[in-house]
Symmetry: C2
Subunit: 83 residues, 2 copies
């Protein structure tokens, strides 16, 4: 969950691993709550044991500071969930 | 949300539309609850105003009756959310 990649100079991408579906869904909700609070909404892919994130700033069609701030916050959420 | 497709003779695919992120997240949770209850877990893609589903039976590497039952239940959840 600590390996964000910049893809095509356009978006950030990361994948977080979980022991099962339920914990992956819980993280999806954490990310969703953050997205609503920041009014910055990533694309989230949820499957058994994995949550994938793609994120960019739609208003500029690419990356802004907001994306990197959100990425760091998701890493902290993930670390907190693992505690 | 009523247009399930069989793709590559291998999985079911559908896309449900929502007015915003919050309602899409709520539907994701409904589907997640169903998945846990049925112990049959689709891949879910959540983005602003849309939830995509891909589903198959991993134990046979393709579709079984369980997939079609789940598909129908998701349609009912979607219809219920819209009420």
């Amino acid at each position: 969950g600590d390996a964000w990649e910049v893809v095509d100079d356009h978006h950030l991408e990361a994948s977080y691993e979980f022991p099962d579906f339920e914990t992956a869904l819980a993280f999806t909700n954490d990310v969703g709550e953050l997205a609503e609070a920041e009014w910055h909404h990533p694309d989230i892919s949820l499957s058994w044991g994995e949550v994938g994130i793609e994120m960019w700033s739609h208003e500029v069609g690419g990356l802004t500071r907001a994306d990197f701030v959100m990425a760091a916050r998701m890493d902290r959420l993930y670390a907190a969930d693992g505690e």
